[in-house]
């Protein structure tokens, strides 16, 4: 009787283990990074971790001119995503995989919702980064000025994103 009971427990555990290992990998999402209000930019990445690589990526970004009064009552007139890039670590440095390029210029004062660049796989360790570009016009001097968000780095390993640089030219 005891032997039968032990056999029953062992078989049950084996069945449970096989079911758990056969379940599909779950999607993960990086923490959203934005400017400090936020009113200009936000970005995050959704991905599925397949062990040695990530796939089913959705690189999400949204931007705005600084609030509902813009562009009429502020100097920021247009914005665009300047680049979204995929990287993989080769053991000694980050290696470029692909660039999704610039968007067209947008003129929404407030956030309207995320745009996404989807697809492709990246061998782990993997990184996706974003850079936004903003155009200001100063009517008193008649000049056009271009500035950027920081580069928003999203590591696809569960760690927090980082931001580097920023405010520069685009």
């Amino acid at each position: 009787m005891r032997k039968l009971r032990r056999l029953y427990v062992a078989v049950t555990l084996a069945v449970l283990l096989s079911v758990l290992t056969a379940m599909p990998a779950q999607a993960a999402q990086t923490s959203t990074t934005c400017d400090s209000v936020p009113k200009y930019y936000c970005a995050y990445v959704v991905y599925v971790d397949e062990g040695t690589y990530v796939d089913n990526l959705s690189r999400a970004w949204e931007g705005a001119l600084g609030g509902s009064g813009c562009p009429t009552y502020c100097t920021t007139k247009d914005w665009k995503i300047w680049w979204v890039q995929d990287w993989t670590w080769n053991g000694s440095s980050w290696t470029w995989q692909r660039n999704f390029g610039q968007s067209s210029w947008y003129q929404n004062g407030s956030f309207l919702g995320y745009n996404t660049y989807n697809g492709y796989t990246i061998t782990k360790p993997a990184l996706v980064n974003f850079m936004f570009c903003f155009h200001d016009y100063y009517p008193d001097t008649g000049t056009n000025v271009y500035w950027t968000s920081p580069q928003l780095d999203h590591y696809l390993d569960g760690s927090s994103p980082d931001q580097v640089g920023g405010g520069g030219s685009c």
Binding site: S31, T32, T33, C34, D35, S36, V37, P38, K39, C42, G66, G67, S68, G69, Y73, C74, T75, W82, W83, W87, S93, W94, T95, W96, S110, M131, F134, D136, Y138, P139, D140, T141, G142, T143, N144, V145, Y146, W147, T148, P150, Q151, D153, Y155, S160, P161, D162, Q163, V164, G165, G166, G167, G168, S169, C170
Partner: protein, 202 residues
């Protein structure tokens, strides 16, 4: 005697006029320096500043220290010399050299460039825009006043969605170089930029 001299003088003058016309029409000369003719708002300077900002909806704070070398509106550079995230390190940089802006990330070795037209300008930073007065004074409701001898302060407040935002810039009264930038959201400081070192002139 006089006629040959006059003839020679007329020939020289005609040659000079012809050369001037050629220079005006030459596309190579016209394209050599496609910059707007604007007076320089700032003298040359070198600066070190620290920029600390909330970086996301989870309240993570990022702190960076930048070194800026500024010659004029079309010649400046900025480099990250310290960063709160050890993964980033230092060296991220951007330069504006005449008509081309270049951004370089030393971790990847990749540079992005953009060429500017005559009435287009890059800036060392979004808060460090070469102007005699801060750009925030162009917003409705902005005010400026003397803070202390040689330093003025400009402020503006406005709503963004359900939030109340205040921006403040302290700047040198003489030529407008900013010394600090503070952004508060609903009474909480969410971004603080402070000039640590400033050397104006050669």
């Amino acid at each position: 005697m006089l006629v040959p001299r006059l003839t020679r003088l007329i020939s020289v003058l005609a040659g000079l006029l012809g050369a001037s016309a050629l220079l005006c029409l030459s596309p190579a000369v016209a394209a050599a320096r496609p910059t707007a003719v604007l007076s320089e708002p700032w003298p040359m300077f070198s600066m070190v500043y620290q920029d600390t900002a909330e970086a996301g909806v989870q309240g993570v704070t990022v702190s960076q220290t930048f070194q800026v070398q500024y010659a004029d509106q079309r010649h400046f550079s900025s480099k990250v010399i310290a960063h709160s995230d050890a993964r980033v390190g230092t060296g991220y940089s951007q330069t504006f050299d005449g008509d081309v802006a270049t951004t370089t990330d030393p971790r990847t070795g990749v540079s992005h460039t953009k060429t500017y037209g005559p009435n287009e300008f890059g800036v060392p930073a979004d808060w460090l825009v070469p102007r005699k007065t801060p750009a925030l004074l162009l917003r409705s409701g902005a005010t400026s006043s003397a803070l202390r001898p040689g330093v003025d302060v400009a402020r503006v407040s406005y709503g963004v969605g359900s939030h109340f935002v205040t921006e403040e810039v302290q700047y040198r009264s003489s030529e407008g170089i900013p010394l600090s930038y503070t952004q508060t959201v609903d009474g909480r400081v969410t971004r603080q930029v402070t000039v640590i070192q400033l050397q104006v002139g050669n």
